[in-house]
Point group: C2
Chain length 333, copies 2
Amino acid sequence: MANPVLVEVTRGGRVESRHRGAAVAVDAAGQIIFSKGDTSAPIFPRSAVKAMQALPLVESGAADAYGFGDREIALACSSHSGQPEHVALAAAMLKAAGRDADALECGCHWPFNMKVSTRMAASGGKLTTLHNNCSGKHAGFVCVACHLGHSPAGYINYDHPVQGLVRDALGDLTGAHYGVDTCGTDGCSIPTYAVPLPAVAHGFAKMTTGEGLAPARAKAARRIIEACMAEPFYVAGSKRACTRLMELAPGKVFAKTGAEGVFCAALPEQGVGVAVKCDDGATRAAEAMVAAVLALLVEDEALRDGLRAIAGHSISNWNGIETGHLRVTEALL
Amino acid sequence: MANPVLVEVTRGGRVESRHRGAAVAVDAAGQIIFSKGDTSAPIFPRSAVKAMQALPLVESGAADAYGFGDREIALACSSHSGQPEHVALAAAMLKAAGRDADALECGCHWPFNMKVSTRMAASGGKLTTLHNNCSGKHAGFVCVACHLGHSPAGYINYDHPVQGLVRDALGDLTGAHYGVDTCGTDGCSIPTYAVPLPAVAHGFAKMTTGEGLAPARAKAARRIIEACMAEPFYVAGSKRACTRLMELAPGKVFAKTGAEGVFCAALPEQGVGVAVKCDDGATRAAEAMVAAVLALLVEDEALRDGLRAIAGHSISNWNGIETGHLRVTEALL
C-alpha cells in the first residue's frame, strides 16, 4: 500500500511532481494525535534526532565544564550551513576541550549552500572538517569523550563509550530498540538506527515535558530544546527551514531536519512531538510536511499563518519568474 | 493508482527511500516496446527535449552559416556543468552571431557542481548568463533569430518566431499538442509543454531513423543526435549521467536529462526512444531508471554491464565509507 501524496509541485497549473510520505504527531504519554500514511515502518531519523544525541553532552557535565551556553548546545544539535559563525563556534567548542579540527571524524564537504561556499572559496577559505554540517554535533561528541576521560579517537564507532551513551539516551526517549541489527552508517559516519516514526515523535514530546524521564535527563532535555529555540541560527543557518520554523514564534516551536526527507519538531507548550518522512527522501517535501502538521496543531493564528507559508509557497526560476507552486495536499490541510 | 517503485535507496541493509515513476520505450513506428507505470499522464519533459528544440538551429541554416560543428550543436542540446569549456563555447557561439552574453535571457546561476563553482570562485571568476546550464541552448536560439533576421530580444517568449519554430518541430516529432493550454515556464524561462511520455520517446525514435519526417528534418535530426553522441562532454560535463551514458558505447546511445526527474534516451541502431519520469522529480532515480530501461533493450553485453553499473551502485559518505546502495527494483530488471 503506497503512502498518500502529501506534497505536490506544480508548473503551468499542472502537478509536475508528487511526494508521498508519512507523518505523525504524538503527545508525551505516547498517544498519537495525528497520523497519515504508514507510520509503522522503521525509518532512519538521521540528523533529525541530533537534539537527542546531544543529551550526553549536557548530562555528562561536559557542557557546563567547558562553559557552553545556548549557542554551543544549539550547534551540537545542528546540521549547520557552514557559515563563518558556525565554523568558528565549532572550533571554539573543540578548543575548550583542548582539541582542534583534527579530532573530528565526520569528513569534509563544502557547505551545501552555493552562496556560502562560493563566498568562502572567493575569499581563499580552506575546506576543513569544521565546515561539515555535522561538525557541531561531532565537536560535542569529542567534548563528551574528553570530559569523561575517554580518548575521543574512534568516537564515531558503535562500540565507543560516547555512542553507547547516545544509544542509551535514544532508547530511553523513544522506547525503541537500538542495536547492531537496526544500525546503519550516517553521512557523518556515526551510527543511525531505524525506528518507527511515532517513537521518534514521542521522544521529542518527552523532551519537552520530561514525562517518563529521570529528573536529570528531563532537565537536560528541556535545556537542549530551549537552547535550540533560543539560537535557531546555530541549528541550521540563514534561510534554512529549521531556523525559519523556530524564528516564527520564539520558544514555541522546535524543529530539526534530517537527510532523506525526515523532519522532526515539537511544540513544547502542548507537549507534542512531530515526525515526518518523505518516502523519496526529498527535503523540500519534508519541510512542507512538517510545517503543515504543525499548522494543524497550533492555536496561535499568526504562527499558523507562518507555518502555512512554509508548507506552501510559489517557486520562481533564475529570472525570478514564478513557474509554479509547492503545496501540501488535502491530507495535510 | 500509484506508479510502481522503480528505484530504492538503501542504508544498513534496509530501504531508506523509494522512487516511483513511469518508463516507456517506443520504436519509430510508435509501437510501445516497454512500459511501466502510468504513461498516459502528460509530463513536462523540460531539458530532456533540448535535442528537439535544437532542430531550428540546424534546419534554418544558422548552424552552417556560423560554422558550427558537433561541439556547438551538442552544447545547444546541453544542460552543461558550467565548466570553462562549456562557458567558452557558448560565448563563441554568440560571437559568431555578433552577440555576447547580454543577449541571453536564461538568467544566472552558479554551476550546480560544487567543485566547478568553488574552483571558479577561488580563481576570481564572475558569474554570467554563460554559466547557466542552458546557455548553449539559448545561444542556439539567439543564433536562429539572428540568422533569420529576427531580433533575438524576447526569444524566450511563446510568441517569438524562434519558439514558434521550436513548437512546430516538437509537434512534428512527438505528434502531441503544443499550445498555451499545455504550456508552463521552464527554469530558463522558455515555454515547456506537457505531453505524454510515449510521445516524447516516439519523437526520439523518429530522430534516430527519420521515419515520418521530411527529408531535411530527418537529416537535421540525425545530425543533432550524432553530434551529441560524438561530443558527450558538451551535452553535460565531467561525471554527469548524460556524458557517462553516451561514453559507454560511442555512437550507440543518446541520452539527455531534464529537471524534475525526466530522462530521455535513444538507441539509434535499434531506432528506439526511451523516456522516464520519476514521480517525485529526483535526478538520482531518473538516471537509474533510464539506464535500467536501456540495459533491458541493448544486446551488447559490455554496454549492458555499463548501463547496469549506472542503474545500480553503492553510495558512500563524506569519509568514503559505503552506507548503502541505489538500485532499481524488479520492475526494471
